[in-house]
Amino acid sequence: MQGQQQQAYDRGITIFSPDGRLYQVEYAREAVKRGTPSVGVRTEEGVVLAVDKRSRSQLMEADSIEKLHKVADHVGIASAGHVADARRLIDFARRRAQLEELRYEEPVDTEVLTKAVTDNIQQYTQMGGVRPFGAALLIGGVSNGEPRLFETDPSGTPNEWKAVAIGADRSEIQDYLEEHWGPDLTLEAGIELALGALATTRDEALEAEELAMGAVEAETAIYSRLGESEINAHLEEVDLEEDEE
């Protein structure tokens, strides 16, 4: 009997269990952990997003793995977890960003955009007949000259970070970030910190084609992707530092 009752909170719509847990949301968080990691680093000079997009087969076109997305001129988003779920949230964010520009003719504030996205995610934890999003996002943007980095999770909670990881091996990568992040990082150092963080959980060396990186510079407030050669140049720097240590 007890077992059956327990199961009732475990299926269908998200409802509280007697001890106050939302199992579906917790399962969605597990789904995020099954995806390859993504890392965000905030520096005074800008926000860096880096994603690990290893594929199971060499025959897969690496460009078709979407984990890093441009959302507006000044905002990029990295995702982890279900790509299909993340895509819905990304498109929501893109539309919301343009809606804000139409309404106010101002670039959407990173925090405002994040909270619009998390409010949307939250609805999927409280309505009937739906399931939560199995994806977490890192939203990096520059608003009023200030770099901001937010995380969203499947419960719809927005958190702001100086540096953060989502996806597989999150806690190990987070430990690395906590050890190495400092308030005086340059953007270049932020890029290398993100690469070093992603490298912690890998046995073999990182390859540029298995990564995607983007950054929003504080000065220009423009999001741009790093090219493969740029990533390679930074990877060499990271390797050198590790050799010194």
Partner: protein, 228 residues
């Protein structure tokens, strides 16, 4: 998602049909608006006057051309309010397209979006010039208030049209340099300014090149002609 309806913006809606009635005395640009293609660029030139009911100059410092895309600009001709909201909608569509696909909209596609919006419901009475540069070259279009989209080497809309066309008919040639493009577009605005009561108060130039859009205004037209 309302992407299935190409006659409406994906974000926002078109205005009510009754809203653009001529009985309301709203600001009109009158205007001379010119788009000229050169060998590798586009030059757009407009005057700077807004008028009310054709009798009052309501503003002498209007920028009637705005960037709507990394490499395209659109002029305001007709109702100022209609043109401003039209520009915001086109700009949002272009940004959404670029964010989603990772590449900018072609100028032809941008023209089609603009044409569809006007056809789908009146964005008030406007008659803009669209000009831009993409991988297929430089393009200018005139767009009529019902959505008619016409590409040409050079186009003019607005109340000063005849005077400006007279100049361009004489001066335009294929493969103009960018500087010559600025000069003839400015001289066309100058002629219209002299003879059309709804055009005047200087010139605004939008230079559209591979590097982007540069918009600058001049109260004295001679400033541009002397430096060109």
């Amino acid at each position: 998602m309302n992407i299935s309806d190409p006659y409406e913006p994906e974000i926002g809606t078109v205005p009510e049909e009754t809203a653009g009635s001529d009985e309301v005395q709203s600001a009109k640009t009158g205007t001379t608006s010119i788009g000229v293609t050169t060998a590798e660029t586009v030059v757009i030139a407009t005057d700077r006057r807004a008028s009310l009911g054709g009798r009052v100059v309501s503003n002498k410092n209007v920028t009637k051309v705005e960037q709507v895309h990394d490499r395209a600009a659109l002029t305001m001709v007709g109702s100022v309010g209609g043109a401003q909201s039209f520009i915001r909608s086109i700009r949002s569509e272009a940004k959404l397209y670029e964010a989603r696909r990772g590449k900018p909209m072609s100028i032809d596609a941008l023209g089609t979006v603009a044409s569809n919006f006007l056809r789908g419901g009146p964005f008030f009475m406007i008659n803009p010039v669209l000009g831009g540069v993409d991988e297929t070259g430089s393009h200018v279009y005139s767009i009529d208030p019902m959505g008619g989209l016409s590409e040409d080497d050079y186009v003019v809309t607005g109340s000063g049209m005849q005077f400006a066309l007279g100049v361009l008919e004489q001066e335009y040639e294929d493969d103009l340099t960018h500087e010559d493009g600025i000069e003839i577009a400015t001289r066309a605005v100058e002629s219209a300014t002299e003879r059309d009561t709804a055009s005047g108060n200087g010139v605004t130039i939008a230079e559209v090149t591979e590097d982007g859009v540069d918009i600058h205004s001049h109260e004295d037209i001679d400033d541009v002609l002397e430096s060109a």
